[in-house]
């Protein structure tokens, strides 16, 4: 017996509404976050993730209200990310009902934030989120929701994040995100081989076989997806049944 592979539906939220874009662009409205979270919980989601996609630039009070609303109705682990800049932000989100926070741009601008947050709240609630795009042999890290390219190598940065005290890595492949052409399994395999903390794979889920392959080939510990679950193209239960039929432990 081992830990169940976690299936994590992600709610991309902007201004208190669920939205979804393709390749980080062309955003469309897709409903109420708390309603969606409740539905996912009922369908067997192992965790809920909420990313406030514009929170780096916008005001935060809507985010807090949305977090509170989800946390009072859904009793599975709940991760919140987007625009987190300080221990104060983390404190506020945890008090509002998040179990974990996912930190992206701010961790690059200020790596000490990961170390300090991990020391203060425990590694189990600090998720280092990375947006990466392939460039030849390596993957480059991007910040600000995929807008700005950095010099960082994604695998090296993930390792550094682990050393700083991150409890999990949430890696989004920008090449695959929204394309429904499968996960970037080479990236995840590279990460899994280099890390001792769990890796959450994100970006590219379109068919059942994509999700199974990310676990089988990419050795991902958890799978995160937004649109396929949101538009009910594939049910969480179907994903779990497919994983189980390949011998993976799932919570059914």
């Amino acid at each position: 017996m081992s830990l169940a592979v976690r299936i994590i539906p992600c709610l991309d939220v902007r201004g208190g509404r669920v939205v979804k874009g393709v390749n980080f662009k062309d955003i469309v409205d897709a409903g109420d976050p708390a309603e969606a979270a409740k539905r996912y919980d009922a369908e067997g989601a192992d965790e809920i993730c909420m990313l406030d996609i514009d929170a780096s630039f916008e005001e935060r009070s809507t985010t807090i209200e949305t977090v509170k609303s989800i946390a009072s109705q859904v009793f599975i682990p709940f991760t919140v990310g987007g625009g987190i800049k300080s221990l104060h932000d983390i404190d506020m989100l945890l008090k509002s009902g998040a179990d974990k926070v996912s930190i992206n741009t701010s961790a690059i601008l200020n790596p000490d934030l990961i170390a300090e947050a991990s020391k203060e709240y425990g590694a189990q609630c600090i998720v280092l989120a990375i947006d990466a795009k392939q460039d030849g042999e390596i993957w480059n890290v991007y910040t600000h929701g995929g807008k700005n390219k950095t010099d960082l190598d994604a695998v090296e940065w993930a390792k550094k994040g682990q050393d700083l005290g991150a409890g999990e890595i949430l890696m989004t492949s920008m090449d695959k995100d929204g394309t429904k052409s499968g996960f970037d399994n080479n990236l995840y395999m590279e990460l899994s081989n280099n890390l001792s903390i769990p890796v959450i794979a994100s970006g590219g889920a379109g068919e059942l076989s994509h999700l199974v392959d990310a676990v089988k080939l990419g050795k991902a510990d958890a799978l995160l997806a937004a649109s396929i679950f949101h538009y009910e193209e594939i049910s969480i239960k179907k994903v779990k049944q497919a994983l189980q039929s390949k011998g993976f432990e799932v919570r059914l």
């Binding site: 169940a4 976690r6 009072s72 009793f75 682990p77 179990d99 409890g167 769990p198």
Partner: protein, 202 residues
């Protein structure tokens, strides 16, 4: 009936309080010694290390009132709230409450499975002994865990779970029940378990 949730200042008590409230319970946060009054049942969600927890309980003068309540009223310890019932832990020099004989040790990877620690995620809970708090819950259901230290099997074990080694995922003695898993984060089954605690009569 009023449920008290202990807040010693280092633990995320809000998710437990929210889950209990969603089941229709009246919940009071117990963060000073006088707030133990009028509490019918007590929940102790723990986080962090045994040492810092015991220290904080002493600083806030809640240590002795807590020991009194544990003797008589229905008590539910969660995560560190289970570990603190033991004599000691490898994690810290500070002693636990010593209500249950035994020590808390770091998770051992006895079969070299290249385990990731902390043990974080959903794992099977095997029912070893019948108990009211598991009524209506089938054997080998998944509950949510986040921890790095465990208790080896004791006479008080109710359920066990395997991760690197077999450890106690819940235990009971008289009016005390404690879980290593987080019922407040274990979805519908976790809520069923908490409902059983709310209805528990000793």
């Amino acid at each position: 009936m009023r449920l008290g949730v202990i807040d010693y200042g280092a633990s995320n008590i809000h998710s437990v309080a929210r889950a209990l409230k969603s089941l229709g319970s009246k919940v009071s946060i117990v963060d000073t010694p006088d707030k133990f009054k009028g509490i019918d049942k007590l929940v102790f969600p723990g986080q962090g290390s045994m040492g810092s927890c015991v220290k904080k309980l002493k600083e806030t003068e809640m240590f002795n009132p807590l020991l009194e309540v544990i003797k008589s009223k229905p008590f539910l310890g969660i995560c560190l709230g289970l570990q603190i019932l033991f004599n000691s832990s490898e994690e810290s020099e500070e002693k636990g409450l010593g209500i249950i004989n035994g020590n808390i040790t770091k998770i051992k990877d006895i079969n070299n499975e290249n385990l990731k620690i902390p043990h974080m995620g959903w794992n099977n809970v095997k029912i070893e002994k019948k108990h009211e708090l598991f009524s209506g819950i089938k054997d080998k259901q998944f509950f949510y865990f986040v921890h790095s230290f465990v208790s080896a099997k004791t006479e008080t074990s109710i359920t066990t779970t395997y991760y690197g080694e077999e450890f106690v995922s819940s235990l009971a003695t008289e009016n005390i029940f404690a879980t290593q898993f987080h019922p407040e984060k274990s979805g519908a089954i976790g809520l069923k378990f908490l409902e059983n605690f709310i209805n528990w009569k000793i």
